[in-house]
């Protein structure tokens, strides 16, 4: 859905998106990394299970909720990527880890 401009500077960090290694542009958010990696849907809804994707990219719509480094329901559009970050799609309701 999105691509990086050739003159955007080449610095990247290595992240895992749904377990697959991806070189994300340094400084981008987890939601941007998922979009750039080609994910069309980043979660399914807890109500009817339909796919959703980041919508506003500025922290108001909560459509980009993902599991980041094991913590569910994170607003992926507000979290900058870090080396080794695990970014996972979220399916339906988030599970509570005891």
């Amino acid at each position: 859905m999105f691509r990086i401009l050739s003159d955007a500077g080449g610095a990247t960090v290595a992240v895992l998106i749904d377990g697959r290694p991806y070189q994300a542009p340094r400084g981008c958010t987890a939601a941007a990394a998922a979009l750039l990696a080609g994910e069309s849907a980043t979660r399914t809804t807890p109500v009817s299970g339909v796919p959703r994707a980041p919508y506003c990219m500025m922290g108001v719509c909560f459509e980009c909720l993902m599991e980041i480094d094991g913590v569910p329901n994170q607003q992926a559009c507000l979290i900058p990527v870090a080396e080794g970050m695990r970014i996972n799609r979220q399916h339906g309701k988030a599970a509570v880890q005891p």
């Binding site: 401009l5 610095a11 400084g27 941007a32 809804t45 959703r52 919508y55 500025m58 108001v60 329901n73």
Partner: protein, 464 residues
Amino acid sequence: MSGGPDLAIVGAGPAGLAAATTAAEHGLNAVVFDEQAEPGGQIYRGIESVAAARNAHLAVLGPDYAAGLELVKRFRASGAEYVPQAAVWQIDAGRNVYYRSRGDVRIINAKQILIATGAMERPLPVPGWTLPGVMTCGAAQTLLKSTGAVPAGRFVLAGSGPLLLLIATQLLRAGVQPAAILETRPNYRAALPHLPRFIATPGYLRKGLAMLAQLRKAGVPFKRGVRQMRILGDERAREIEYEWRGRRERCAVDLVLLHQGIVPNANLALSLRCEHEWNERQRSFRPRLDAWGNSTVPGVLIAGDSGGIIGAKAAELSGRIAALSAACSAGRIGLDVRDRLARPLRRTLAHHLVVRPFLDAFYRPRQETVAPRDDDTVVCRCEEIRAGEIRRLVTGQGCPGPNQMKSFVRCGMGPCQGRLCGLTVVELIAECRDVSPAEVGYYRIRPPVKPVTVGELAGLDLDR
């Protein structure tokens, strides 16, 4: 708590940054909380990184964006404290600010509060707008500013507003061409009386015409007066269908970028019980403010677009004016100094506000845009409540307002807390009851206005 800041500012956009800089100049201890990792707000998003690491993109984004660099530099040099990546989830009547920043959960007590939470894009509920492959124009602009990313594949921009044209031209300069611009019809007749003053204000008309000329030159199909849009697809957007010049048309897409103007990002101010009123001209709610930005809650000021849409330049000036008021309330400057310093700011502010009546009237969304006709349109994206159900609850079950709508079907009670459905729900209820949105009112917004975990709450140090 002693040692708390004189002024806590929420939001590091033009209003917040300008306010912090002015407050610091007058000896106030100011602290700015912001959700992003860099100052600038949405309008100047990523400005420091762009200037430092991908300078070529300054030309892509244009001079109005580049102008933000100076504002950010002055803020950095001002001595005001800056807390990035901070989610303020509550401010209480005692002006305690509850926030989380990078895992650190804290409460500070501020003597005064300035809310500068800016604007968000007005929801544009059309069938299929929840599909992956549908985003806002602002989202695409954010990706360009913060990451240097552009749409890949076939995309259209749909809706209306100055920002839609701006992002279209920015994308063109970045080397990507929209397959079409589908514009919902502007209001020529209503805007006409305001046209002379708009034309007489230097800069604005020229900018608008230059954008239109650029789109024409690039050969972007510009369809004005599009109605009844619907986005089709199963797992993602594949096509957009619409009515244009009396005919139904379809266009294959990989990405649809929606935009229908911007509205105040009001949840924090609403949660503080700052009184809001219906703004008919902008078809949104705005806080009741005096000429200095004081809200109806003592010690709480509001500046910039969160006080009603005024644009970036005006937001900056309103931030400075509010900061002068805060400095005066804190006893740092006298009334005479406050008034003298505010006078030139007010003159420039008035200049920027001259164009608003035209822009507000021209781009005021139509009834069919704010109250979707198609019963199948999802209104509350979080709880998946559709327009038909809302209409049925109002006319069939006597549900009178948005707060009752919560009890009936949880509408507006999902993670976004009504941000993406509030105005639509109000408009639908008002239409069904044949009353003004002013009478319907808005959701009662309660803290936490940003999500906070039980663990984070438990970790709070309350023995201050």
